[in-house]
Symmetry: none
Subunit: 178 residues, 4 copies
Amino acid sequence: MVEAAGQLLVETGYARASTNEIARRAGVSVGSLYQYFAGKEDIFREILQRHRERVLPTIMAAFARMAEPEEDLVQTTLDLLRSMARVNAENPRLMAVIEHELGWLEHEDDAERDLVERLAEILRRRHAVAPTRIAATAQLLIVTVAPLSRWLVHGKPAELDTEILIEGVGRMLRGLLG
Amino acid sequence: MVEAAGQLLVETGYARASTNEIARRAGVSVGSLYQYFAGKEDIFREILQRHRERVLPTIMAAFARMAEPEEDLVQTTLDLLRSMARVNAENPRLMAVIEHELGWLEHEDDAERDLVERLAEILRRRHAVAPTRIAATAQLLIVTVAPLSRWLVHGKPAELDTEILIEGVGRMLRGLLG
Amino acid sequence: MVEAAGQLLVETGYARASTNEIARRAGVSVGSLYQYFAGKEDIFREILQRHRERVLPTIMAAFARMAEPEEDLVQTTLDLLRSMARVNAENPRLMAVIEHELGWLEHEDDAERDLVERLAEILRRRHAVAPTRIAATAQLLIVTVAPLSRWLVHGKPAELDTEILIEGVGRMLRGLLG
Amino acid sequence: MVEAAGQLLVETGYARASTNEIARRAGVSVGSLYQYFAGKEDIFREILQRHRERVLPTIMAAFARMAEPEEDLVQTTLDLLRSMARVNAENPRLMAVIEHELGWLEHEDDAERDLVERLAEILRRRHAVAPTRIAATAQLLIVTVAPLSRWLVHGKPAELDTEILIEGVGRMLRGLLG
DNA sequence: GATGAATGAGAATTCATTCAT
DNA sequence: CATGAATGAATTCTCATTCAT
C-alpha cells in the first residue's frame, strides 16, 4: 500500500495521487486503506517515515565511525556522502519527489536537530573545532551534506565525474574542520 | 493577481488555493484570470518566474564582482550568500512555500546550468583552481550556496548566530578554492 | 439514470442537460453517475445504444419473414415500416430528439452496413431482383425506409392518413422490386 | 463570419463552436459579431438560411420543368435528385453537419410544407395520380428525395455506383407515379 | 476486518454576452 | 461602428471519506 502510494507519488505527484487509485494498485479496497491510515496525508507521512528509517542507520553508522578518534573526520564524512548517495540511488525518482513534494507535511526538524546534536557532541569530544564554532560547524555539515547527496543522484549532470566532485567536497570539509 | 496567488499560496498551500479565490482576492473575475493565465499551474509558474527575476540580478551583480581579479573570491561569494539570504528574507514565508510546494513545476535546469557555466568561466579566467577541477568546483559552489541561502532564512534555528555560520562557510570556500 | 437523462434530453436538449441535474433526477449523486459513465457524452451514447437495442429485434423479425419465399416482400417491408413507426411512437419526443440532437455522436455505419448486407442476402436468395442490382436495391430500401419510419411518427402532418401513405410506399417498393 | 461559423461547425460541432473563436477566425471582434447577430443561435440560423437559399433555386427550377406536361415526371425528379446531390457535394461535411446538428433550431417546416403544396399542385394539373393520392404522393416524394440526396453525398459507400442507385430510385418513382 | 458503492462538496474551466473606450 | 477586456453563472468532473453489508 505504501509502495503503491510511492509509485503514484512518483508518477503523478501528491495532488493527483488519489486514495482510490492507491488502494486499487495495492490490490485492496479503499475501505481497508482507511483501516490502516487516518487519511491521505497519513499514508504519505508513512512514506516519509520509512524514508527516514531507511536513511538513519546509514547516518548512524557513519557517526559511529566519526566518533572513533583514530578515524579521519573528513574521510568518514565523505564515506557518509557516498553511502547516502547510494541509498538515494536505490529509487532516485522517489527520493527526489519525497524531497520536493512531501516537505510541507513535516514540522519536525526534530530528527535533524537530533542529528546536529549528535554531530556536535562528536566534534566536541574530538576537539575537532574550537568550542564556539561547534554548533555552527555541525549544522553546516548536515545542511551541506544532505542536499549534496540528493543532488549527486538526481541532479548531477552525467558528464561530471563523481570522484572529482567528492574530492572537491573533501577540500570544503578540510577547510571547515581543519 | 500573481500577488493574490502568492498570498493564498502562503496561507493555504497550492492545493487549497483555488482559482476562484485567487481571482476574488485580486478583485477580478475568474474569467479574467483565465484570460491571462493558461490554468492554475500557469499562475504559480509565474510566481516562480518572478521569484527568479528578483533573485537573478543579485547573483549577476555578485558574479560581476567575482570576475574582478582584485576582489577576493571567498569574500564575494560570502557576500552573495548574504545578499541571497537578504532577498529570501524579504518574504520568508513565500520563499519557504515556493521551496516546499512549487518544486514539482520547475525545470530550471537551464537557468542553473547557465549559472554554473558563468561561474566556471570566472574561475577559469582567474586561474582560481586547476583546470581539471573548474567544472566540478563551479557546480559545487552553486549546489552548496543555493540551499544554504534558503536555509539561512527559513531553516536556521534562531539561536544560531548567522555570522558564525557565514564564517564557517568561508572556511569551506577557502578549502575548496584555496 | 439513463431514463433521467432521456427525460432531460427531451425537456431541455443535450446542451442544457447537466450531469448534476441528471443525477438529481435519478435520485443519485453526481459521483455515482461518474462511476458508471465515463462522462456526459457516455450517458447519451448509452441512450442511443438502448434505442438501437430496442429497434433491432423488430427489424430482425421482419427480415426473418422476408427470408421466407412464401411471404410477399413488399408486404413484409410495409409491415416493417409499420413496426418501426410503432416503436418510434412509444416515445415520439425522445426519438425525435435522438434524431435531432444526438446524430453527431453516432458512427453507426457498421450496424447499418450489416443490415444492408443481410437484406442483400435475402434478395439474392429470393431472386427478387437482377444480381447486378442487389446491392443498390438493398441500400435503397434501408436508406428509404429508415427515414420514412421516423418521419411517419414525428414529421407527418396530422391531416395525412397513414394508410394512404403506406399504400404509396407500397407502390414505390413494387416499382423497385417488381 | 458565417463562413467561419460554418468551418467551426464542421470541425467542432455546435456546442464547442464559441462565438469568440468564430469572431477570431472571421478576423473581427466579438463585439462586431454581436452587432450583426442577436446571439450564437442567430449565426447558425443564418447558416441554415443560406443553406436553404442555395438549395431552393435548384428545386424551383426542377419544379418548373415538372410543371411542363411534355416533360417526364420521373426523369425530372431524378434530375432534381442529381442536382441536389451536386449542391450537397459542394461542401459535403457542412451539409451533413447542418442536417445533424442544426435541426433543433428550426420549427419551420413551413418551407417544406410549401414545397409539398407546389408539388401537389403540379401533380394535380398533370393528372399524374388519382386525386385522393395527390397529397400523400407529393409528401412521399419530398420526404424520400431529400434524405436520398444527402445520403448520396455523405453516406453512400464508394463502391456503389451512383447511376445504378439512381436507376433504382427511378423504378421507385415509376411505381409511385403510376 | 474487509469491501467498494455512494456521496457531494468543491475545484477547474468555459463561453455567451456586455459595455466602456 | 468597432473593439476586446471583463464578467461570472454555469458546467463538468474529481476524490477523500463514509458506512451498510
